[in-house]
């Protein structure tokens, strides 16, 4: 009996370890510094995590489907630059759908390569990381993009506005998280994503159109990236060409931290959100207790590895790897 309860505690920790760590972490920081749990601090952290978070939602679909997406960072730069440029040329009402269309086209191209042509997603999206970066630079001529008349447009509402006191980026992040969570957990499509990622061959044999499902995950990812680009552009009202550079790996870190397996077939939107929040609150908490800003990267490193290690240690039933 004692054995059993020890086991169930162990398996609970393993399954919900990330949540437990999150709670311990929050309590620790709150004890160290009262300001940490002030409402405005919490809302500030979530707001600044929203852009990364929105991207992570889309990448969660791709990863559950058994693939990777390293192109989201440069794609986000592309969306941001395009929407800022078109804003002054077409006006915000046309610029936003045009930018979404172009970003979705990029997503469709990647989805076609990985889904229908069955090319390795790591290399394809690595190539697209570079290609889209080049596309952005060609589009902008390497120049920074700025909205000319910053005061005379409602465009800033997405990044800077508030509805009932809640910052709009948080609302968009939350809304998207809820919708995508429902899609993933309550629809036939969501189940297909898990099936394709869990065992692609078995999914194909049971009649699931693997290619189309993978294609769709990249479209969803591109949609999220476009949304993130909109938030970024609207928050800063101007941007460099490299605004999203390096974010692909931070996004992936958040998704992995949330417990999605890189092999596909596991992960949830809720856990990804937790992963995103952990990254955001670590950064904030370490600053508040007086540690250097860049120390967060070192802590993130340790946390990612511990989280994944704990996860696989629980699955294989032993701490150390069986690799001789």
């Amino acid at each position: 009996m004692a054995e059993l309860s020890k086991q169930s505690i162990g398996s609970f920790l393993a399954r919900q370890g990330i949540l437990v760590a999150f709670v311990i972490f929050m309590v620790g920081f709150a004890l160290a510094n009262q300001r940490f749990i002030a409402i405005d601090n919490i809302s500030g952290v979530i707001r600044s995590s929203a852009i990364l978070g929105v991207m992570a939602l889309g990448v969660t679909f791709v990863v559950i489907g058994g693939n990777l997406d390293l192109s989201v960072g440069s794609m986000m730069s592309f969306s941001t630059i395009v929407v800022l440029d078109l804003h002054d040329k077409l006006g915000p009402a046309l610029a936003i759908p045009a930018m979404f269309g172009m970003t979705l086209a990029l997503g469709a191209f990647i989805g076609f390569l990985v889904g229908y042509l069955k090319l390795n997603s790591l290399i394809v999206t690595l190539g697209m990381l570079s290609a889209i970066h080049g596309l952005t630079l060609t589009y902008s001529g390497g120049q920074n993009m700025d909205i000319a008349d910053k005061a005379g447009t409602w465009f800033s509402v997405f990044g800077q506005g508030r509805v009932m006191g809640i910052p709009v980026p948080i609302l968009i992040f939350a809304l998207l998280a809820v919708v995508l969570s429902l899609v993933l957990s309550r629809t036939p499509f969501g189940r297909k994503v898990y099936a394709v990622g869990g065992n692609g061959q078995a999914a194909t044999f049971s009649g699931i159109p693997r290619a189309r499902v993978v294609f769709m995950t990249y479209l969803i990812s591109a949609f999220c990236v476009a949304t993130a680009g909109l938030l970024q552009a609207s928050r800063s009202m101007g941007s460099q060409n490299t605004v999203g550079q390096g974010m692909e790996l931070e996004v992936l870190a958040a998704v992995i931290l949330g417990g999605a397996s890189l092999l596909g077939g596991s992960g949830t939107i809720f856990k990804t959100v937790i992963g995103v929040l952990i990254l955001g609150f670590i950064q904030n908490g370490l600053l508040l207790v007086g540690l250097e800003f860049y120390f967060q990267y070192v802590v993130t490193w340790v946390i990612i590895i511990l989280a994944v290690w704990l996860d696989i240690a629980a699955k294989r039933g032993r701490i150390w790897s069986p690799i001789a």
């Binding site: 390293l70 390569l113 042509l117 069955k118 090319l119 390795n120 790591l122 290399i123 394809v124 690595l126 190539g127 697209m128 990381l129 570079s130 290609a131 889209i132 970066h133 080049g134 596309l135 630079l137 060609t138 001529g141 390497g142 550079q245 390096g246 790996l249 931070e250 992936l252 870190a253 992995i256 890189l262 250097e292 800003f293 860049y294 120390f295 967060q296 990267y297 070192v298 993130t300 490193w301 340790v302 990612i304 590895i305 994944v308 290690w309 696989i312 240690a313 294989r316 150390w320 790897s321 069986p322 690799i323 001789a324």
Partner: protein, 330 residues
């Protein structure tokens, strides 16, 4: 060597020849400069400029043959560079005169080896996938880079060192010698030693390798130490000349290195790849950079072209493989 191997290993060199012809011909009509593309000095410079990414890409090849990947090389590169330049200003080092140079090199290379060993040990002991381990340490090592000197560049110019880095021996620059030397040593390591043979075997089929009595872990560790060493060596070669490192330096180097390796035909899944072909991949990328500049294209287009070529290579490679398999079936 059968037809298929020839196609695969020769592919990258054929691509280089095509590039040379294309840029030479197109340059006649489009180039703004009078100099021919295949100018001898231009080619020497090209080899020199491909050294920093090239040395890392060679290391990445053995990691990928082994079935792993290393995303932290860019951060290792930056940290080694900082140690190299900063250590020369330490009081006891400054007192040593030019003897500080070899010591600073040792410190930098040691930094690389240690960072690589940390990755290798974690992959070995925890069994966490190398992609995740090095994704984490990419962030962590970059954090250390920033903690070292904030967002300030670290600078130290040592003229003896600059002279050494700019020297030419038998026409080739110092950096080129390091690139070629690394290639030769790694080629020997992978083709003539037990370690190399085992690395291929592990990448090809880990379970079979374990059953054959090969100890997988130590080989992982050694390869990660080698790539850490090479990332540091790349930093040593590059920063001996430039003398100033920004904390963002080396970002995306991992992606460039992987691109070169894949262009050279090495498989992501492990077990297949060659050092010589990676050298070809490195030269092909640098040729493309220089060539596009030569015919007056914006430097920005390089990223676009390389990305698309990478995807095209992947597609062609898949078609070739598939064909081979179908033939086998019949």
């Amino acid at each position: 060597m059968n037809r298929e191997t020839l196609l695969k290993q020769g592919g990258i060199w054929a691509f280089i020849v095509v590039e040379l012809i294309f840029f030479s011909v197109a340059g006649e009509y489009l180039s703004v400069s009078d100099k021919a593309f295949m100018d001898f000095d231009n080619m020497l410079l090209l080899l020199k400029q491909s050294a920093p990414i090239g040395i890392i890409a060679l290391g990445m090849t053995i990691i990928m043959i082994n079935g792993n990947i290393d995303l932290s090389v860019g951060a290792t590169f930056a940290l080694a560079a900082i140690v190299l330049l900063d250590s020369m200003t330490w009081p006891f080092m400054a007192a040593m005169g030019d003897w500080a140079i070899p010591l600073a090199w040792v410190f930098a290379l040691l930094t690389g080896v240690i960072l690589g060993a940390i990755n290798g040990l974690i992959v070995w002991k925890t069994g966490v996938d190398a992609f995740i381990v090095t994704l984490g340490s990419m962030l962590g090592y970059r954090g250390l880079v920033f903690m070292y000197n904030g967002e300030q560049p670290t600078s130290h110019l040592n003229w003896t060192l600059v002279d050494f880095a700019e020297a030419q021996f038998l026409g080739l620059h110092t950096a080129t010698w390091f690139l070629l030397g690394t290639a030769v040593i790694l080629w020997l390591l992978m083709t003539k030693t037990v370690h190399g043979r085992n690395a291929y075997a592990i990448g090809n089929n880990r379970e079979a390798a374990v059953n054959a009595g090969i100890r997988v872990g130590p080989h992982f560790l050694i390869n990660f130490m080698i790539i850490g060493f090479l990332a540091a060596l790349s930093a040593v070669v590059f920063y001996s000349e430039s003398g100033s490192v920004n904390p963002n330096d080396g970002m995306l180097y991992e992606l460039w290195a992987i691109t070169a390796v894949v262009l050279g035909g090495t498989k992501l899944t492990g077990g297949y790849g060659s050092i010589v072909s990676t050298l070809g991949g490195v030269i092909a990328i640098q040729l493309l950079r220089k060539g596009l500049g030569h015919i007056g294209a914006d430097t920005e287009t390089v990223n676009l072209v390389i990305g698309l070529i990478l995807i095209a290579v992947l597609f062609l490679d898949r078609q070739l493989n598939r064909k081979g398999k179908e033939e086998l079936k019949i």
